[in-house]
């Protein structure tokens, strides 16, 4: 993938992000922020790449592993916490019936 192509990807990805969050009810600001935050833990892929390509270089393996830990802390925690918040909204209709 050439650098120029990656720049296109960056541009289109940003535009997509701008478009996706058009009108959000204030109710969902906190969950949305928390969910988006979990997605930003996608750096776990970079950490994985680092570990796989380390080729026995122990310091790099350790750095990659710690980085993977931080990223997954972000991802797993983020999604769980978002789910906990959203569960409170979705519980209502089932309660009424």
């Amino acid at each position: 993938m050439s650098f120029i192509n990656l720049l296109w990807v960056l541009l289109l990805g940003s535009l997509l992000g701008l478009e996706l969050i058009g009108k959000v009810p204030p109710t969902l600001h906190t969950p949305l922020m928390s969910g988006a935050n979990a997605i930003s833990g996608i750096t776990m892929l970079a950490a994985l790449t680092c570990i796989v390509k380390a080729e026995g270089n122990v310091p790099l393996l350790i750095i990659g592993s710690v980085s993977l830990g931080f990223a997954l802390f972000n991802v797993v925690g983020g999604f769980f916490v978002t789910d906990r918040m959203l569960a409170m909204f979705s519980r209502k209709p089932s309660n009424k019936k």
Binding site: S14, G17, T43, G77
Partner: protein, 472 residues
């Protein structure tokens, strides 16, 4: 394209699609929970795609597997435990902590690749490593400071409210720019300078910001962590990382903008203006209350019993006192008596937009009773009683009437239009902004002093004595 490349490409494509649908779905109440799961699924899919690619090409060494497993188990375990244990009231600081760790991850990857190059280093590689370190470090230290301030572990030091901080931050910024370009020029030793000064810059920028503005900062830092992820994508040459990072970065910016609007603050004034209270001490000299009416819980209960329509204005104080469940008990009683009860939710009630909705939902308040500010404001003149619980700045009429007030122009709830207003508050202390609240001085406002939970409990007792809510 070889087969492993095709497989990874298809999986990545699918993951991007699902992530986009996930973010989209998160902006609607109905679909939000499924959307969150969809996004989580997309993330695991992307891991499968990456691992399958390496399994199909170079293979993954046993040693690598071991480190992958150690890292992922520790991270996921701590993340899951924290996510399950943390109380709903401290959601903002939890998001800040998670966010900081995301930034740290990008920072570490870039550091690792910078010290031990995994591919031939080019100028582009150097630039993306530098960006990743710079943004990652700011995200990390900034988020940690934000978390510590929200938790009350850190206060705002006095010097940070003076002009000194601009000078200090400019020094940090210039130093990090120097390190940045030095690193791009191939001088790898300046990497540590870059790490240190950009970390300091993150602290220096976040520390002066007051508690009320913290949600905006967290949202902005969330956007940064997306940018850091995208930069890390350039480092390891991954389109998926770039797309996901860019999406989060852009979405975070929009969200930040929306939050700023809700608080009537510009991003610039949040970042460089210092905390509101520091400015307001000079501008609002009339800090004394002259006409405070205080009343007992009993009077409050009597007025409530005679009311037809009651609006509740919950604020962060309610959440701190953990009184949302007790509040729900009170409103249940009122409803059983045929009194119409509505909750007026200011866009920034609680500590983050939407935070109050989450807290009330936790206490089983029906979603339909939560009314947004624009919907509920025309109703106040026809309302008999307004109960203000631990909210302050969002009901300050100064924002409408006093153009010299720092709050002027902020959208507020027009509670003073109601016939009677009860403000339940621990004392006469000012709100986040540190500004006097003119509402308390109005003749139709009565203060009920006490801890929100205790007052509400007493209120339940009084209502019981009056026979409210005992019909049928």
């Amino acid at each position: 394209m070889t087969l492993p490349e095709i497989i990874q490409f298809v999986i990545d494509l699918l993951a991007v699609l699902l992530l986009a649908l996930g973010i989209k779905g998160l902006s609607k109440v109905k679909s939000a929970r499924d959307a969150n799961r969809l996004a989580a699924f997309a993330m695991s899919l992307s891991v499968v795609g990456l691992l399958s690619y390496y399994l199909g090409t170079s293979g993954i060494a046993i040693q690598s597997w071991i480190w992958i497993i150690i890292g992922s188990i520790t991270g996921s375990l701590f993340g899951a435990i924290l996510a399950k244990k943390v109380p709903m009231t401290s959601m903002p600081e939890t998001v800040a902590l998670f966010n900081g760790c995301g930034g740290m991850s990008s920072l570490l990857v870039a550091l690792g690749v910078a010290i031990f190059p995994i591919s031939s280093s080019s100028l582009i590689n150097q630039v993306s490593i530098s960006v990743s370190i710079f943004v990652g470090a700011i995200t990390f230290t900034g988020s940690i400071v934000a978390m510590a301030k929200l938790q009350g572990w850190l206060s705002t030091p006095g010097w940070t409210q003076s002009k000194v901080r601009h000078f200090v931050n400019i020094v940090f910024a210039v130093a990090s720019l120097i390190a940045f370009f030095d690193l791009i020029n191939g001088n790898t030793s300046s990497i540590w300078l870059l790490v240190i000064v950009s970390s300091l810059l993150g602290i220096g920028v976040t520390l002066p910001i007051g508690g009320a503005d913290m949600p905006v900062v967290i949202s902005l830092l969330n956007s940064y962590s997306g940018i850091a992820a995208a930069a890390a994508g350039f480092v390891v040459n991954s389109q998926l990382l770039i797309i996901a990072g860019a999406m989060v970065g852009a979405a975070g910016l929009i969200l930040t903008q929306v939050m700023c609007k809700g608080m009537n603050r510009s991003l610039v004034s949040v970042l460089f203006g210092g905390s509101l209270s520091a400015q307001s001490t000079a501008s609002s000299g009339s800090g004394e209350y002259t006409n405070i009416t205080s009343c007992s819980v009993e009077e409050c209960a009597l007025t409530l019993e005679a009311a037809n329509k009651v609006i509740i204005v919950p604020g962060y104080g309610l959440a701190v006192a953990q009184a949302q469940h007790t509040l729900r008990e009170v409103t249940k009683k009122l409803e059983q008596n045929g009194i119409e009860v509505v909750y007026a939710i200011h866009p920034v009630a609680g500590r983050m937009p939407g935070h109050m909705n989450v807290l009330l939902a936790e206490a089983d308040v029906p979603y339909e009773q939560l009314k947004e500010m624009d919907v509920v404001n025309p109703d106040f003149p026809a309302t008999d009683v307004v109960l203000v619980l631990g909210a302050n700045d969002v009901v300050n009429p100064q924002a409408k009437n006093d153009s010299s007030s720092p709050l002027y122009g902020m959208p507020v709830l027009d509670v003073q239009e109601a016939r009677t207003v009860f403000v339940i508050k621990r004392g006469m202390s000012a709100g986040y902004s540190g500004i006097k609240n003119d509402l308390f001085d109005l003749p139709n406002t009565s203060m009920v002093f006490g801890d929100a939970k205790k007052v509400l409990n007493d209120l339940i007792g009084e209502l019981k004595d009056l026979g409210v809510g005992e019909k049928q």
